[in-house]
């Protein structure tokens, strides 16, 4: 870990931390505001207890990432809202359960004394039951706080910025500095919030002014810093949201688009690490303004086509279809193709005399194939399997960043590689040919949301990308991140310079004036 790499990451901290704090605090305060009254109701109306606690428990058993991803189709939105709702649900169980346990745990003779002295049921609640249950309730809130701070890192794939941006992009680009900074920041935040609540509790229980002031000052400091951290990123109406799927090439391209937009005097904001379909839906709904997709992906996954016309034809048909069906504008093909291909280590290809997928089919029953999370459920896989009658001994899925290493180290025999990935050369892999043309071409295309397509200044800023990046240049940029450990932002500057889209002199100027 070099100092420069760390400085690179720390520059992102205010933005990520600000978003993370906002998300966490809003979810937690809402969680408390919803759960306390609900828990009190449940202790008063016994038949509600079982259903309410069961629903909360079930929400808790859904893995955090899945719960977040589920919110996107349910709410039809990406970004803050689905992340907020999912985290709210996640915070509910500990607060609900502890409040109910705390209130029901108050000794019956104490309750009878309260009633016998003439307290109304409201007075009993506020003067006796809640104060006596407070330690248990606060323990629940502390648990919820730690969970929510942790789970908020998972909101990156649904388009909400958080400290998870460090972790997701760091894992994809094998940048361990980013991953470490993200984890450390999230852990520190969890500890600080948890201890602040504890301090507040001690202050109240011990009636200590000093502790009370400390806890209050701490909370105020956090609220103020959240506000301050949020100001520079507060959304103006003219911010351009640039999306990216969770792999290196996408980060680099999103950075390149953002840099280009900034040079043109526009404000750009990145939404990284989003799933393919989430990203496309976000584009059509206008929550994301632009990103780079691939013709074959749209052809097979969005248009659900199974026929395979020649490359140029497919591109033209896709362009027209997107415009007609979704008013999505294809601003242009960037020039390179990032195909799905099956890759094997070179030595293995030579030993088994593998050149094409056809050659592979004979050996498949003795082989293990590794692929990214999406591949085996994508129509491309089905087409490939049927065309070549592929039948592997075992299928395994990997995070894309680990897939190549798995092939190199022989953990799997074949992988579904991206042809522009820098690691194909670096790890000595060979991409097998596709003589039956079962896989569609994957021209990188720049797509704009309907609203973005109407913004002349945006269109003119991005126009220059048409047809200027060739396979080699893209692979070189990707390699800088995946193999050399550069940040996507640096690799994007390299890419823009390589294709003549940026004058180096401009780099340091205040670009968002």
């Amino acid at each position: 870990m070099t100092e420069a790499a760390l400085a690179d990451q720390l520059r992102l901290l205010p933005d990520y931390l600000g978003h993370h704090l906002t998300l966490t605090l809003v979810a937690l305060f809402s969680g408390i505001a919803v759960c306390l009254p609900l828990a009190i109701l449940v202790t008063r109306v016994k038949p509600l207890q079982w259903p309410v606690l069961t629903v909360a428990s079930v929400a808790q058993t859904i893995p955090g990432l899945a719960l977040l991803a589920l919110m996107v189709p349910l709410l039809g939105r990406i970004g803050f809202l689905p992340a907020f709702i999912a985290l709210l649900l996640y915070s509910m169980l500990p607060i609900l359960r502890n409040t109910v346990t705390g209130i029901l745990g108050v000794a019956p003779d104490i309750l009878e004394a309260a009633e016998g002295l003439g307290m109304t049921s409201r007075q009993r609640l506020f003067r006796v039951e809640l104060p006596l249950a407070a330690p248990v309730i606060i323990a629940g809130i502390r648990t919820a706080t730690v969970w929510v701070v942790g789970s908020a890192t998972l909101s990156t794939p649904v388009g909400a910025t958080s400290l998870g941006n460090y972790i997701f992009s760091g894992l994809q680009t094998q940048n361990s500095t980013a991953v470490l900074v993200g984890c450390a920041a999230a852990a520190a935040l969890a500890i600080v919030l948890d201890q602040l609540i504890r301090l507040g509790e001690l202050a109240v229980a011990g009636r200590s002014r000093t502790k009370g002031w400390l806890a209050g000052a701490g909370l105020l400091f956090i609220l103020l810093s959240t506000l301050i951290l949020q100001i520079p990123t507060a959304k103006g109406s003219n911010v351009v949201v640039v999306g990216a799927k969770p792999f290196t090439e996408q980060y680099v391209l999103a950075e390149a688009l953002a840099q280009r937009l900034t040079q043109a005097g526009l404000r750009a904001e990145n939404r990284s690490s989003m799933g393919s379909m989430i990203l496309f839906d976000a584009l059509t709904a206008g929550h994301v303004d632009c990103y780079v997709d691939y013709s074959g992906t749209i052809w097979a996954n969005v248009m659900k086509r199974q026929d395979l016309p020649p490359r140029a034809d497919l591109l033209e048909q896709m362009k027209n279809w997107l415009q007609r069906e979704h008013q999505v504008r294809v601003l242009g093909a960037l020039g390179f193709e990032n195909n799905y291909g099956l890759a094997v280590p070179k030595h293995k290809a030579e030993a088994l005399e593998l050149a094409s997928i056809q050659d592979l089919a004979r050996h498949a029953p003795h082989m293990t194939i590794g692929a990214d999370f999406e591949f085996f459920v994508r129509p491309e896989w089905k087409a490939l399997r049927e065309a070549y009658r592929l039948d592997f001994r075992e299928k395994r899925t990997f995070d894309p960043s680990l897939m190549y290493a798995a092939a190199r180290e022989g953990v799997v025999d074949v992988i579904s590689a991206y042809t522009t990935d820098g690691r194909i050369i670096e790890y000595d892999l060979a991409v097998l040919t596709d003589p039956l043309q079962a896989l569609p071409p994957y021209d990188a295309v720049l797509v704009l949301s309907p609203a973005a397509a109407r913004r002349a200044e945006l269109v003119s800023a991005l126009k220059g990308f048409d047809g200027i990046i060739d396979d080699g240049t893209m692979r070189a940029a990707n390699k800088r991140v995946d193999v050399d450990g550069e940040s996507p932002a640096r690799a994007a500057r390299f890419l823009l310079e390589a294709v003549g889209l940026s004058s180096p002199a401009k780099g340091g100027e205040g670009s968002d004036s």
């Binding site: 009878e112 009633e115 016998g116 003067r127």
Partner: protein, 259 residues
């Protein structure tokens, strides 16, 4: 002051009765002790007076008003209650515990403070050392004193007391009993006190009401229940204190012979 008319209570739809057809009157300023073995229904009867338990049948009048027709909250704030297990609020200090009812009645904070100190002194506690303690920092006897102070705080005219001196050692109990008896006379309190201790009943009561298995078997002044009990059960109950008194007397007499 308190008028109990044909009151019954069942907890199991009439299969058994915790209290059965009890008729009892308590006059203003009277100290009535409800005496009986444990489980005979004393607590249940006491709780029906301030409606912590609803009667299954019959009627209870407190100061001429049917308790089932008045707001129970108002009723309870006007009646002091000392609970069988003391039932102090563990999260409140002694002062806060004592001031509960005055606060519910919206007394001025300064009036509450003065009243707390007055009551702590009255029940033999030192305001300075005890007012800011939590219940768990007190001895059993001190807790019972605080329970008594809490019941007296809003100057009720009626006190309901459920074995208020139960958990005390004999010395402390004797002291506190006598202090309370004096207090009851000076304040002219109407008291209904539950106990299963025959001696306590005899020493404190103006009148004793004896219960057995939910039924009131008879009432009478301490002298009456000792000398001509109206029911064999009362006579049997009084056998113990009488025998103890005889033994104590004979010890005293033999000691007087100056061996």
């Amino acid at each position: 002051m308190i008028c109990i008319q044909q009151v019954s209570k069942t907890f199991d739809q009439g299969r058994s009765f915790a209290v059965q057809e009890v008729d009892l009157e308590v006059g203003a300023g009277e100290f009535l002790v409800l005496l009986g073995e444990s489980g005979c229904g004393k607590t249940t009867l006491l709780k029906m007076i301030n409606r912590l338990v609803e009667p299954s049948r019959g009627r209870i009048l407190v100061e001429e008003r049917d308790v089932c027709r008045v707001d129970p909250v108002v009723l309870r704030r006007g009646i002091g209650y000392v609970f069988q297990g003391v039932g102090l609020f563990p999260h409140m200090t002694v002062a806060e515990n004592v001031a509960v009812v005055p606060r519910l009645l919206n007394w001025e904070p300064s009036a509450c403070r003065d009243r707390v100190d007055e009551l702590l002194r009255l029940t033999g506690l030192s305001p300075r050392t005890h007012r800011d303690r939590k219940p768990h920092e007190l001895s059993g006897g001190q807790r019972q004193r605080v329970g008594l102070a809490r019941a007296l705080a809003a100057r009720p005219r009626i006190m309901l007391m459920d074995e208020p001196f139960g958990a005390l050692d004999p010395m402390t109990r004797d002291g506190l009993q006598r202090e309370f008896k004096r207090l009851q006379q000076t304040l002219n309190l109407t008291v209904v006190m539950v106990t299963h201790d025959m001696t306590e009943a005899l020493l404190l009561a103006d009148r004793i009401a004896v219960m057995k298995q939910g039924v009131l078997v008879g009432t009478g002044s301490p002298g009456q229940v000792l000398r001509n009990p109206s029911h064999p059960y009362i006579a049997a109950l009084m056998e113990t204190p009488r025998r103890q008194a005889d033994q104590v007397e004979s010890i005293l007499r033999s000691g007087g012979e100056g061996k």
